[in-house]
């Protein structure tokens, strides 16, 4: 590689790294589209009210709970017709060997019903998908000897949850405290120390549910200076309506 190649490589990598995409936005869009794709593919008739989970770096998790997209199973996510832009389209076709077999071929039989733009679907307007969004953060008040790992749950509809925070027992990590914004009467908290980890479990009592809103589950611990939090993680079980879903993530 020549000198100018090295420079080009540096500049391109720099340009790529300078862009930090919004992980939450990607997770949210992917979750919504997965629900639509699942309906279109008729993955399971019983799965119409499908739990869709998408994880992103940083512990952002989106669980779609309802079937909120307009009733246009093909049009809602159909790719643009490839034939509409003349010569340019042939270059854009995926190579035949890579094209997923279940994708409709570009020359559809004439009997295929025309796809309907999602915007013209009759009846109720397309609603925002109802999501339970879960994220994990390291509280900004954490210091060199004390840390709070926080799981935040934003529920668009009533849901039962069980949250487990796992703290790696590195650098003398020692349990310091916990709290949640869920009323204590609705909740059972369990502390368990294993050889490797401190476990904080917040479990809603049977029959209790989070009302739509935003809730915080905090796990506090002290530790030696400069502890890395890479090994810490959370797991959230969500039950809403007929839907069960599990989300896992890290703290950022």
């Amino acid at each position: 590689m020549s000198h100018s190649d090295d420079r080009l490589r540096f500049e391109l990598r720099h340009a790529a790294d300078a862009y930090v995409p919004d992980s939450a936005a990607i997770a949210r869009r992917a979750a919504t589209r997965r629900a639509a794709a699942a309906r279109r593919d008729r993955i399971r008739p019983a799965a119409v009210a499908l739990a869709v989970v998408a994880v992103a770096v940083g512990g952002v998790v989106a669980v779609q709970l309802n079937d909120s997209s307009p009733p246009a199973p093909v049009a809602a996510v159909a790719p643009p017709p490839a034939a509409s832009s003349g010569a340019a389209s042939s270059a854009a076709e995926p190579p035949a060997s890579k094209r997923p077999a279940s994708e409709p071929p570009s020359t559809r039989p004439a009997t295929t019903p025309p796809t309907r733009p999602a915007t013209t679907s009759p009846g109720k307007p397309p609603a925002e998908p109802e999501l339970v969004a879960v994220s994990g953060t390291v509280d900004k008040n954490s210091g060199s000897n004390w840390t709070q790992n926080t799981v935040t749950i934003k529920a668009d509809e009533a849901a039962w949850v069980e949250v487990t925070v796992r703290v790696d027992r590195t650098d003398d990590a020692t349990r310091a405290g916990w709290f949640t914004t869920v009323p204590n009467s609705d909740l059972t908290f369990t502390a368990k120390d294993t050889p490797d980890a401190l476990l904080y479990t917040y479990r809603l009592k049977d029959g209790a549910k989070l009302r739509p809103g935003t809730y915080v589950f905090a796990a506090q611990f002290s530790h030696g200076p400069g502890r890395a939090h890479d090994g810490d993680s959370f797991e959230v079980d969500v039950r809403a309506g007929d839907v069960d879903a599990t989300s896992r993530g890290d703290f950022i």
Binding site: L8, L12, Y19, I26, R34, P94, A96, K98, R248
Partner: protein, 177 residues
């Protein structure tokens, strides 16, 4: 999807969504579109996850899907822009003589024909081997070599000329004619 497949997909999502979005960003130059394109490509991957996983190179497959999605977005965007240009030739990017003195990498990339841009970005920004670029884009290794070499030359020239104003007034849409 089975639970272990779902877990593998989620791990793939977590590990690669940022880089996929960055690939879309360098191809399209549009940060918002890049996030949407990455999400849509990841959904396509999920729909065919079992097969994608069995290829042994899900990332290569994902990059191919993403490149197709990005190309579709560029086509639509170009059609819209052409409509705009017909009525008014004054958008920032096409100002002609008073082009900003510093042409950044992103703006320079946008002036490369799409195949060159894809090859240069995959080879230089993401270090993808030539053979894999060929598979991702569905073209021959020879074509990858030629697009990459011409694209790199063109990009280097554009970046070198960034301090001057000559040659930069050409519209990409006119170059392609």
């Amino acid at each position: 999807m089975r639970a272990d497949e779902e877990a593998a997909y989620q791990a793939f999502f977590a590990r690669h969504h940022t880089d996929l979005a960055r690939l879309a960003y360098l191809i399209t130059g549009d940060p918002n579109a890049a996030a949407d394109i990455a999400a849509d490509a990841l959904v396509e991957i999920w729909r065919h996850w079992r097969r994608v996983r069995s290829t042994g190179n899900p990332l290569g497959y994902a990059r191919g899907v993403l490149a197709n999605t990005a190309r579709g977005w560029l086509r639509r965007e170009r059609r819209e822009r052409l409509g705009l240009l017909r009525s008014r030739l004054s958008t920032d990017e096409y100002r002609g003589p008073d082009v900003p003195a510093v042409l950044d990498v992103r703006a320079a990339l946008r002036r490369l024909p799409i195949r060159r841009r894809e090859c240069v970005v995959l080879r230089y920004a993401f270090d993808v081997p030539e053979k894999e670029v060929a598979a991702i884009l569905g073209i021959s290794v020879g074509a990858v070599k030629s697009h990459t070499s011409r694209g790199a030359d063109q990009l280097a020239t554009l970046l070198r000329k960034a301090g001057t104003v000559d040659d930069l007034g050409l519209l990409p849409v006119l170059e392609r004619r």
